[in-house]
């Protein structure tokens, strides 16, 4: 214990270390605060719009209070849907800044409404958000590198290295130093995160997973830094920093972007536009199709209305809504293909995360925050289910020619946001962690294998050091 407190004093006496740690703490706190602020803003928006929407519905109900049929109410009434931020969303805002979390829909064709965008400023969205996920994935590794790259070379430069290595229990000293730096870095990330979780009332399991992921990702960078820092006697501080920063640029900037190119080429998703064009043709073509033909197709998917009164001579709303329904159904295949494409992109990203710790951590933390592509698709599913409910509600009036009136308005379906499955720790998360901890162990092992005679390891580049470390761990 005494060793630890001595080391701690040493670290805190170094101006570079203390200012780096303080800066990381401030940045993480700022990111958490900004995330909380964003989430609060999104909640306020949802509440504000609910009020506005109520007034809108009341106005429509007032206008069509004595409507004989349900047609005009069904046509003019909008419903609000919303996707509240989860209590973990503050960690990683994800796609919520570019995809709508509130959407107004009505009983007409859903496929023409489902993909509407939200107003946002693309120039501001382009560089990405400043949230905890950013601090963790991009910035924390830089701090790990700054604190650890000269762990060994600084001692050599000051002439203490030979002495330190020849002391009994020398390897314990290195481990203590590495562990302490790791612990301090982790604390700078974890404390703001815990505070944020406390404020936002996050479920313990979710915050535990987020902490484990943060700890693992940090362990990867600490491990890698140790591997490079312990490259034997000839390791020079700036060469170490260069190799480490190069690895960082490769792992968090280059390879993910390269992967994105491969992924978007391998899995094209133009079906979205296709289905939009096809749905429009189907819906508007209905005016040229014999009405009985449209009704026949409608009854195929809705047999419960088959034995209702036949269409009268003039216009009838039930035909109008039926062709919207048939229009949606006619593109069901494209909708499935579009979705399959999006899911495949997500799946391959997750697989990539097993190899690229940054991508893996990004995927897991956004999954925990429920702000990723699957979250967006889940919101879409919820809207779809609600739209079905809405349609069935109006069909009940239209196909039985029941009067709608204010009673109808009073019994309109109401939207409830999707329920969230509790986050779980699955094989995806475990696979993401595996590589990180392996690298960490190799790094620690390599550090312990430093020999005082200076002949332990020939100097080499990062790759050689990695191989050397693997060999160490195997022995």
């Amino acid at each position: 214990m005494k060793g630890f407190s001595n080391e701690l004093r040493l670290i805190l006496r170094s101006r570079l270390s203390t200012s780096a740690l303080l800066l990381l703490l401030v940045l993480a706190a700022l990111a958490v605060w900004s995330g909380l602020d964003q989430v609060a803003h999104q909640r306020q928006t949802i509440d504000r719009l609910a009020v506005l929407h109520q007034q809108d519905v009341a106005a429509v109900a007032d206008r069509y209070a004595d409507s004989a049929d349900a047609g005009s109410p069904a046509y003019y009434t909008f419903y609000n849907t919303w996707d509240p931020p989860s209590d973990t969303a503050f960690m990683a805002l994800g796609l919520r800044d570019v995809a709508p979390y509130v959407l107004r829909i009505r009983a007409l064709g859903l496929q023409a409404q489902l993909y509407d965008g939200e107003t946002f400023n693309p120039e501001l969205a382009l560089p990405g958000r400043f949230d905890f996920a950013f601090v963790l994935i991009y910035l924390a590794p830089l701090f790990a590198i700054a604190l650890l790259h000269d762990l060994v070379s600084a001692e050599r430069q000051s002439g203490r290295l030979r002495l330190l290595l020849s002391m009994p229990g020398g390897s314990r000293l290195w481990r203590r130093r590495a562990a302490l730096r790791y612990g301090l870095l982790f604390a700078c990330l974890a404390l703001p995160l815990l505070a944020g979780a406390l404020i936002s009332g996050t479920a313990p399991l979710a915050i535990a997973i987020a902490l484990v992921i943060s700890a693992s990702y940090l362990a990867f960078w600490v491990g890698l830094s140790l591997l490079i820092a312990a490259r034997g006697w000839s390791s020079v501080a700036n060469a170490n920093a260069t190799v480490l920063m190069g690895s960082w640029a490769l792992l968090t900037l280059l390879l993910p972007t390269l992967a994105n190119i491969v992924l978007s080429r391998a899995i094209p998703v133009h079906q979205g536009v296709d289905l939009m064009l096809a749905q429009r043709e189907a819906v508007h073509g209905a005016w040229e199709v014999p009405r009985e033909e449209t009704m026949r197709r409608f009854f195929e998917s809705h047999p419960e209305w088959r034995d209702t009164a036949p269409l009268p001579d003039g216009f009838h709303w039930k035909w109008y809504f039926a062709f919207h329904q048939v229009g949606d159904e006619s593109v069901a295949e494209q909708v499935r293909a579009y979705r399959a494409g999006l899911e495949a992109r997500q799946q391959w990203t997750e697989r990539l995360g097993w190899l690229l710790p940054g991508v893996g951590a990004q995927a897991v933390i956004h999954r925990v925050a429920d702000t990723d592509l699957p979250a967006q698709l889940a919101y879409r599913d919820r809207i779809e289910a609600f739209h079905r409910e809405m349609r069935d509600f109006y069909y009940g009036y239209l196909f039985t020619d029941r009067a709608f009136g204010s009673k109808g308005f009073a019994s309109q379906p109401t939207f409830t946001p999707r329920s969230r499955e509790p986050v779980s720790f699955g094989y995806q998360e475990a696979a993401t962690l595996l590589l990180s901890w392996l690298v960490f162990l190799f790094g620690i092992g390599r550090l312990g294998a430093l020999k005082p005679n200076g002949k332990a390891r020939p100097a080499g580049r990062a790759g050689a050091a990695l191989q050397g470390a693997t060999a160490d761990a195997a022995l």
Partner: protein
């Protein structure tokens, strides 16, 4: 050979022997090449795809059967945003904006199906484009290879010897700068060649290609200056490296992310949801065309009757319902445009806020300059949306005029009568063609940030001279 050139040559020899420098440069060159080829290929295929979709949409519009014009107003039209050739160099916000705009009567829709909502979060790591390589990674390489340029001489004691031999501090610094900017020039080469090719093959105008080239030359020159400057200020190469890496992380990674959040918080944008409700409210308040006693629309009827000198709408030589549709669309479009303009202005205020910080991070100035020249910034997107809206308005009003002129009021108000006009009318509408901003427009927009970048360069050049002089004095 001058002293400066000799120092530069010596530095070059060292650089070429440094494995980190050479492999870093090769990697950067290779990746820039990949980025250029990919960007060009992607640009070409996306352009072809959009042209194909646009042709399909045009065909679908023109080959509609005989219809009531108002049906066609609702059938609407699709526009696909064409890609600017220079987007291959810097795609800017292209992945973040929708590319498919649905035009219909009584509504202004958003452009949908942007890449950002169709990708996993991988896209948020950035895109491997020539612009990304040069904006983010090239400075990092310059830091790696250049941080020790002067510090190394100091550490090994050769600096003192050089000075003792009568070499001026200024000359040493200039030589190092020459070497490092030569290295930067190598890193820039594939991108410059790609730009030259885009311009020479007539895909992009020369002035814009030159503007882009100038911007990136200035950017890497700025980093060369910064690297040599910092290197001359620190006793140890390692400290210079750490300082430069910190500066890079703050200027290139942190500020460009953090400032937009500030702008977002300071100038909040209304949601589409509430704008839609507000527009509907205001529209309802303007009047109700179905209500015979509505003040706005009865005044409109009186004006029409007076103009044609008749007593009743049935006696008009045109279909009054068509006239009403024209009036309604005019009113609603005015409203829509007011809200759209307010939103655009808010977005511009946000962007201007970020631009102001270009005095704090030249990366922001470069980004603005690059996106403006490549035609991939918000201003260009706004241009597309506004031209799309103009096209929508003309289309809808053209259809409403057809309703007024080709259909009879009595027929049109009879619910039991099928009112259709010939499909030949649909072919008389012109197709949409996006008009890109003129070169002088772009230059005009690029000028202020270009000046900011020049100011940065000037400041660093002055600092460099001072540092050179100091280097000479300190050692004596």
């Amino acid at each position: 050979m001058s002293v400066v050139a000799r120092i530069a040559r010596e530095e070059w020899r060292l650089l070429l022997r440094d494995r980190v420098a050479v492999s870093g440069l090769l990697l950067l060159l290779l990746l820039t090449l990949v980025a250029v080829l990919n960007a060009y290929e992607h640009q070409r295929s996306a352009s072809a795809e959009r042209a194909r979709y646009q042709a399909q949409a045009n065909r679908e519009f023109e080959t509609q059967p005989d219809r009531h014009p108002h049906r066609v107003v609702h059938f609407g039209h699709f526009l696909f945003r064409p890609l600017n050739p220079l987007a291959a160099f810097d795609p800017g916000i292209n992945a973040y904006t929708g590319n498919t705009l649905f035009l219909e009567g009584h509504r202004q829709n958003t452009a949908n199906f942007g890449d950002v909502r169709q990708s996993s979060l991988l896209l948020r790591f950035g895109q491997l484009t020539p612009a990304f390589m040069l904006q983010v990674l090239a400075p990092l390489l310059l830091i790696f290879v250049g941080h020790a340029a002067v510090a190394r001489e100091r550490e090994s004691g050769t600096l003192r010897i050089l000075l003792a031999q009568g070499v001026a501090g200024r000359q040493i610094v200039a030589g190092k700068l020459l070497a490092l900017s030569g290295f930067a020039g190598l890193a820039l080469l594939p991108a410059l060649l790609a730009l030259a090719w885009l311009a020479a093959s007539g895909r992009a105008p020369w002035p814009l290609a030159l503007l882009l080239a100038g911007a990136y030359i200035g950017w890497l020159l700025l980093w060369s200056l910064l690297v040599v400057l910092v290197s001359s200020q620190f006793k140890r190469g390692r400290d210079a490296l750490l300082a430069l890496l910190a500066a890079w992380a703050v200027l290139v990674i942190l500020l460009p992310r953090w400032l937009p959040d500030l702008a977002n918080a300071n100038v909040p944008l209304p949601t589409r949801f509430e704008n839609a409700i507000q527009v509907e409210r205001e529209y309802k308040a303007l009047g109700d065309s179905h209500n015979p006693d509505d003040p706005h629309f009865s005044a409109f009827r009186e004006r029409v009757l007076e103009k044609y000198g008749v007593e009743n709408v049935e006696d008009l030589p045109v279909n009054y319902k068509g006239l009403l549709a024209i009036e309604g669309e005019r009113l609603s479009s005015e409203l829509f445009n007011r809200y759209a303009d307010a939103l655009f202005d808010r977005q511009e205020r946000q962007n201007a806020m970020v631009d102001d910080f270009a005095w704090l991070s030249p990366a922001l100035a470069l980004r603005r300059l690059s996106m403006a020249a490549a035609g991939t910034d918000q201003a260009n997107f706004r241009r597309f949306l506004e031209q799309g809206e103009d096209y929508r308005y003309e289309l809808v009003q053209g259809l409403n005029r057809l309703q007024a002129e080709e259909l009879d009021y009595v027929d049109d108000t009879n619910p039991d009568k099928e009112n259709r006009i010939s499909h030949a009318h649909w072919q008389s509408f012109p197709e949409f063609h996006y008009r890109a901003p003129t070169v002088s427009d772009v230059m005009h927009r690029a000028l202020p940030v270009g000046l900011v970048l020049l100011c940065w360069l000037a400041v660093f050049t002055v600092l460099m001279r001072l540092a050179g002089n100091r280097l000479g004095r300190v050692a004596q």
